[in-house]
Amino acid sequence: MHPNDVILQTITKCLSFIIVIFSFYVFLAGHHNPGGGFIGALTTACAFILISVAFDIETVRKMIPVDYKYIMATGLLIAGLSGVGSMIFGENFLWQTFDYFDLPLLGNTELATALLFDIGVYLVVIAVVLSIIFTIGEEH
């Protein structure tokens, strides 16, 4: 007995893209507007959870074919190294800076080293949420 959820699945296909794009927006907006690594990662994780509800957990596993614990460890490593990086330049641990760059398409953009730390946070939070939900979800 499998209920026919074609409407849910079709909507999920469109909606998950919108959620992921919104979560990236929130993630990148964090320096000047409400948002940041933590909330961005939770929103991205929501998209994956929606897919796992509409299809099943295996679908998500195929989309991210890596063990989530490695993603978590990578995130911690990035966050930690972003603090150590400043020590190479003779500054204190966790020192940060920013500058303006002319990027193609985006024009004059402010790039801050705090973003590197946020990428770490982003990866850790996504991996933690997904591994908690899927570890509980898989045990029957």
């Binding site: 614990k69 460890a73 490593l77 930690g80 204190n92 641990f93 966790l94």
Partner: protein
């Protein structure tokens, strides 16, 4: 040099992260964790040496000047505690090569130990009260992982209590910080100290001081708040208990040291009198438990409680001898409690029971275990050539100088009962007729004994070579009794 203070936090953190990647190959994991353990010992030894040479050292994270940013502060007390923490962790890692099963190792034993170490060392080095809360949570989260690791029935039952108690005490911690922030408007410990000194600690600040006493008392297991400790510490395997007994309660004691010598020292007739009463009750409860039980781990667990009482008593004397004795005893206690739990772990592996009456006569087949245990017992009780003696001597001197005669008598009687409680293990299990389950088999305890021998050797050095380490501890005492040294080093007006 400038970045030396951050290394004892960073090395365990990165080691833990790297160990997450190589979960499958146990041997590589062990090699990396032991190399990193040695590296932390060396780095924290250098830090301790540097602090003794150049005085209190403070480091601004991200280059923000305190009180606006987070400062890491290393005075002699925290530098010594970091050094002893790294030694205890290294020794427990050496024990864990043979002392913990493959399943537990594969489910992130080593990363959890290193995250625990990050939290403990961070809590010792931080100069910011909210940052201290965060490091407390780091070490508590890892200890939740370690206490449930393996998932036996007793562990799951006790971990529920342990987690519940710590969640409640963490909530109290946040409330206490919120109240303190609303009164003083700062979170930096040095800045807090000078602002509390400005207003002379009115009633509301004394109330907040008591709230902190409840929080740290729950972590350190002082008298009315120790009830979670005996069950929780007896549940996990001995090597994890050795880590907990050597480090976790000590972090709570360190926080009491910091808060009650640097921030809330203006009303000693209220706060320090309470500390004295609680310390004496903690000693009494600890020795009652230690004498009452016949389970090896339970006896030692109650000895942990009694040891906390001795150290808190030293803080309550609040004079040079008392603080000196408390610091000395704190350092000695870290080593000897870890050594005792590791020795009892080896004994349980030999006899396959933790009851005192089901096994006896270990000394015929395993003489080294027996004699090491005797040395550990004598050192714990404070017999002169070993390190426990000097700590207690100065605690007693400090107590007499502060006029706490009754409490000193209790302290001496408690020491006697502690000696009785551990010698009972020695006479029942080590001596006597040979009678235990595996007495006809050849049980190999290769690799389980030398880690505790390292610790015993260090306590022996601490006792015999007390001359050499006295300058370090006097330096720590001086900073604790003169908060302006700490404040000047951090705020650098």
């Amino acid at each position: 040099m400038t970045n030396l203070i951050i290394l004892p936090i960073l090395i365990p953190f990165f080691t833990a992260v790297i160990l997450l990647f190589i979960r499958k190959s146990v041997t590589v994991e062990r090699i990396i964790s032991i190399i990193a353990g040695i590296a932390v010992v060396i780095v924290s030894g250098l830090l301790a040496y540097d602090v003794l040479q150049n005085g209190v050292y403070s480091y601004n994270l991200g280059g923000w000047v305190p009180p606006f940013g987070i400062a890491l502060v290393a005075d002699s007390l925290s530098a010594l505690l970091v050094l002893f923490t790294s030694i205890v962790v290294l020794v427990c890692l050496l024990f864990s090569i043979r002392g913990i099963d493959e399943i537990r190792t594969k489910f992130y034993f080593y990363p959890l130990v290193y995250f625990l170490m990050t939290g403990v060392i961070g809590a010792f080095l931080t100069g910011d009260i909210f940052n201290m809360f965060v490091f407390f949570e780091v070490l508590l989260m890892s200890s939740y992982g370690l206490i449930t690791l393996g998932g036996s029935k007793a562990q799951l039952r006790e971990s529920i209590k342990y987690v519940l108690i710590n969640v409640i005490s963490s909530a109290f911690f946040v409330m206490a910080i919120a109240l303190l922030y609303s009164v003083t408007g700062t979170l930096n410990i040095a800045d807090l100290s000078s602002r509390v000194a400005e207003v002379g600690q009115p009633g509301i600040l004394t109330v907040i001081a008591f709230l902190f006493l409840i929080v740290f008392g729950m972590k350190a297991a002082i008298f009315p708040l120790f009830f979670w400790l005996p069950g929780s510490y007896a549940a996990p395997p001995p090597v994890i208990t050795a880590l907990f007994a050597g480090l976790l309660t000590k972090v709570g004691i360190y926080a009491i040291f910091r808060i009650f010598t640097i921030v809330f020292y203006h009303e000693p007739q209220i706060t320090h009198l309470t500390l004295e009463v609680l310390a004496v009750l903690t000693m009494i409860v600890g020795v009652i438990g230690a004498v009452a039980y016949t389970d090896l781990q339970k006896v030692l667990v109650y000895n942990v409680v009694a040891g906390v009482g001795f150290i808190i008593f030293g803080i309550s004397s609040f004079n040079e001898a008392g603080i000196f004795g408390a610091t000395f005893y704190l350092l000695h206690d870290m080593l000897i409690k870890a050594a005792l739990f590791l020795l009892v772990g080896a004994m349980i592996i030999i006899t396959k029971t933790s009851s005192m009456h089901k096994a006896s006569g270990l000394i015929k087949k395993h003489p080294l275990v027996g004699w090491s245990f005797l040395v550990a017992c004598l050192s714990l009780a404070g017999v002169p050539p070993f390190s426990g003696f000097f700590g207690k001597l100065f605690l007693i001197q400090g107590g007499f100088e502060a006029g706490q005669y009754f409490s000193v008598i209790i302290l001496i009687l408690a020491s006697l009962l502690i000696l009785y409680s551990v010698m009972r293990i020695f006479f029942n299990v080590i001596l006597g007729e040979e009678n235990y389950e595996t007495m006809n088999e050849k049980v190999s305890i290769k690799g389980l004994l030398y880690p505790s021998m390292i610790l015993l050797f260090l306590t022996f050095i601490m006792g015999m070579g007390a001359e050499a380490i006295v300058p370090y501890i006097s330096d720590a005492t001086e900073t604790l009794l003169n908060p302006e040294l700490y404040i000047e080093a951090v705020l650098k007006e």
